[in-house]
């Protein structure tokens, strides 16, 4: 009897304390998730105010999605993401490297950190509306360029494919480079100063230091940035939605996958939207897996938590 008492475990309190989270997760995440998958096999939408369905139709939604323009929108999404991501990662690496360089002694680091992060605090839709007004044909950007004599006729930014796509890329770049910079700075500061000192003594140049020490050492964080950015990119919605009025103008070339999803939701087409979400889910899963494998060499635990990997690196694994 006494023995049993001694082995009273307090672990259950731990479980009780994390219970609220799991209940919330169950109600607000897991059940909707399962419902999404379930509805993707049904014909279920609203025509006017009348509800049609749910009628079980098997894989019909998945098949008709493949026949639609989904792949074209996937291409659009990818292009828009790349346009935003490449300048973002390059600038972020550069800034992070400068800010963490002990020799450069940049003043007001804290100030700059705040400033570059600021665009991220603006609501994406407000940001898009601002750009929409600034770059409209009779907007301030065109007026300024005309009065400076750079152009003779206003440029129709939002009427051309390149213009619209670059604007979306530019906005995504502006909104996210600060965030990435701060994350990369944290990663670089996590590298032991001994290594930097050692390389200085060996007479290594700034560029060599960057490519042979900094980059390999922050690879886990780079991978994390890439993965989150891809997932964020797949979900790209608010900026192009507001900028093109939800239509992906011109010629549906800036229609992203989530905008496509949204246009299904206008008629509450839960079946089709569910099927599309399942596709997106699978694609993000595969993408994450690949990116992880590429950046992590031989590790084969797939998309498992980043934490594990971080711990490994900190312990000096590999």
């Amino acid at each position: 009897m006494k023995k049993k008492r001694k082995s009273v475990s307090y672990a259950k309190w731990g479980y009780i304390f994390i219970l609220p989270f799991f209940i919330c997760f169950l109600i607000f995440s897991l059940i909707p998730l399962i419902d999404t998958v379930r509805y993707s096999f049904f014909e279920y939408y609203r025509s006017g105010i009348k509800e049609i369905g749910p009628d079980f139709i098997g894989m019909q939604n998945y098949i008709s999605l493949l026949g639609s323009d989904m792949l074209k929108y996937a291409g659009n999404t990818l292009i828009l993401w790349v346009i935003g991501f490449i300048p973002q990662i390059v600038v972020a690496l550069l800034l992070a490297n400068w800010f963490t360089d002990i020799r450069l002694k940049i003043r007001g680091k804290q100030f700059f950190k705040v400033v570059i992060y600021l665009p991220n605090l603006i609501m994406a839709s407000a940001f898009a509306m601002l750009f929409f007004a600034m770059f409209s044909t009779n907007g301030p950007i065109n007026s300024i360029m005309i009065s400076l004599g750079w152009i003779s006729k206003p440029i129709d930014f939002l009427g051309s494919v390149i213009g619209t796509r670059s604007l979306i890329g530019l906005m995504n770049f502006l909104m996210w480079f600060g965030n990435t910079t701060i994350m990369l700075m944290a990663a670089i500061m996590g590298i032991s100063p001994d290594i930097f000192e050692a390389c200085e003594l060996d007479g290594c140049t700034g560029i060599q230091r960057f490519f042979y020490i900094t980059l390999p050492q922050i690879r886990p964080i780079l991978a994390y940035t890439l993965i989150t950015s891809i997932i964020g990119g797949l979900q790209m919605f608010d900026v192009p939605q507001i900028l093109t009025n939800g239509q992906g103008n011109p010629d549906r070339t800036s229609m992203t996958l989530i905008m496509f999803l949204n246009s299904h939701l206008e008629s509450r087409n839960y079946g089709m939207a569910g099927a599309l979400s399942v596709y997106l889910f699978i694609v993000s899963g595969i993408l994450c897996f690949f990116v992880y494998r590429i950046t992590n060499g031989s590790s084969d635990d797939g998309t498992k938590a980043e934490k594990k990997k971080l711990r490994k690196t900190r312990k000096g694994g590999r």
């Binding site: 209940i23 109600i27 939408y45 609203r46 025509s47 006017g48 105010i49 009348k50 509800e51 049609i52 639609s68 323009d69 929409f132 007004a133 409209s136 044909t137 009779n138 907007g139 206003p154 129709d156 939002l158 009427g159 051309s160 494919v161 009025n245 939800g246 239509q247 103008n249 011109p250 010629d251 549906r252 496509f260 246009s263 299904h264 206008e266 008629s267 087409n269 089709m272």
Partner: protein
């Protein structure tokens, strides 16, 4: 077992939600049946802006007071009107309204919707007999033939279901006219007299010749190709989608719009930099530095969009007849099926849409063109209805004949999407981004995405 626990959990959550929902009304949970003869204490009105509220406050004789935040209006008998306002943008209003209407049967008496408003573009969705969310007026005790005899016929048609049972009523009527800049008219035609200018724009052929004159002096006739769309679409003879069908039939008139718009745009009669309406460029085209001669607008357009965007002196604009009669917009009042305040609802609908004196007061105070044939004829002849913004012109003189000649296009539940997506798909074509066939294909894609039950698009030869 797990399932049962989960079910209990869900039930608890749902119950909690319900309780939170009716916390404010509390007392009379028992009177949930619609048959109760006792009138409820709360009238819930769904709308997308405060247009109806301001008018009701101003002219409805039973109004006692409105709370400062504008959410509750108290009537003299103690009944409260609760205003539920959701913006029209991105379909928010319709989403919220649909949710509420679908839960109407289970809602507590004081939470039931009693009145809701709809716009011409989607009124048909709610007057549908099968859905039966808007009560037939006769069920309320309103006889459209006698009580609403003075209303414009087309507004009654618009508010009726496909069998012709009227399920809504409106206080306003939106005959479109041509609004033009007096200074440009003087410069080009040598006169700004509405009759003389009206002669110059009386039909499309004459207007085209006039457009050439305007162009020679460096002016645009209209701002955007979207400006003329309503004139064409409101004169269609067939609805976009016929009842019970799943095919969008494009009316030949709509193709005329495409053809003419392209021609006009290429000829330089329209401002190439203005794409669509209600955007920054369009608003600027209404300013004093713009070269745009005219806009095709209904009364609300002059009051709500032209006036605020005009930055010059008042009196610079004038109104004349459009090249073709048309209607643009209009807000309809419906009694929601299952209302617990049928007497109040009836009284409000009658007072707001059938009482000539009330309607004339709205016209005077808010410049609405109101829904009373005899009243509007009086207004047209009465100089006290002249507008300063229009340089002392009495615009009712031009509205009234247009209103009498409007033959509204047959409606369908798909109008909003068709109008929006058609204009959008073809603006790429007008701007030269895609060719004609691609624009057609884009419209087909877009419309099928928006309405899953649409299977085909039929183009005229």
């Amino acid at each position: 077992m797990k399932k049962r626990v989960f079910a209990a959990l869900m039930a608890a959550v749902t119950a909690a939600g319900l309780l939170a929902g009716c916390g404010s009304s509390g007392s009379d949970e028992g009177s949930g049946t619609t048959e109760s003869t006792e009138e409820g204490k709360v009238i819930n009105i769904y709308s997308w802006n405060d247009e109806f509220r301001t008018r009701l406050e101003a002219v409805y004789p039973e109004v006692e007071s409105t709370s400062d935040d504008g959410t509750v209006t108290t009537l003299k008998d103690g009944t409260e009107i609760h205003w539920v306002i959701n913006p029209n943008q991105d379909g928010v209003y319709q989403q919220k309204l649909d949710e509420a209407l679908m839960n109407q049967a289970d809602a507590a008496a004081d939470d039931k919707i009693d009145i809701f408003l709809s716009e011409t573009d989607y009124v048909y969705k709610y007057t549908d007999a099968e859905a039966d969310v808007a009560m037939p007026l006769t069920d309320l005790g309103i006889d459209p033939d006698t009580d609403l005899a003075d209303q414009y016929d087309f507004t009654k048609t618009t508010a009726s279901d496909r069998e012709g049972v009227q399920r809504g009523s409106t206080w306003q009527c939106c005959p479109g006219v041509l609004v033009y800049r007096r200074d440009i008219a003087k410069d080009v035609f040598g006169t700004d007299d509405p009759t003389a200018v009206g002669e110059k724009v009386k039909d499309w052929d004459t207007l085209k010749a006039t457009a050439e004159e305007l162009k020679a002096k460096g002016y645009y006739t209209f701002a955007s190709y979207a400006d003329t769309f309503r004139v064409y679409s409101n004169n269609m003879s067939e609805p976009w989608v016929a009842d019970g069908e799943t095919t969008v039939k494009i009316d030949p008139l709509i193709m005329d719009w495409v053809e003419n718009s392209k021609e006009w745009l290429d000829a330089g009669y329209l401002d190439k930099t203005v794409k669509g309406q209600f955007n920054d460029d369009w608003n600027k085209a209404m300013g004093s530095s713009s070269k745009v001669f005219a806009f095709l607008l209904p009364p609300w357009g002059i009051d709500f969009t032209l006036n605020p965007n005009w930055d010059g002196d008042a009196g610079a604009w004038a109104v004349t007849n459009p090249p073709q009669e048309y209607n643009w917009g209009g807000s309809y009042i419906h009694a929601a099926t299952g209302t617990d305040n049928p007497e109040h609802v009836k009284d409000i609908i009658l007072a707001m849409t059938a009482d000539k004196d009330t309607l004339l007061k709205i016209s005077k105070d808010y410049l609405d063109f109101t829904n009373t044939v005899s009243g509007m004829e009086e207004a047209a002849a009465d100089d006290t209805y002249a507008s300063d913004f229009l340089g002392g012109q009495n615009a009712y003189e031009y509205y009234a004949p247009v209103a009498e000649n409007i033959k509204i296009a047959p409606l369908s539940a798909y109008d909003l999407g068709c109008v929006e997506l058609f204009q959008n798909s073809f603006s790429d074509y007008f701007q030269g981004n895609v060719d004609f066939d691609k624009a057609k294909a884009n419209f087909e894609t877009a419309i099928k995405e928006r309405y899953p039950d649409i299977t085909e698009v039929e183009w005229p030869e």
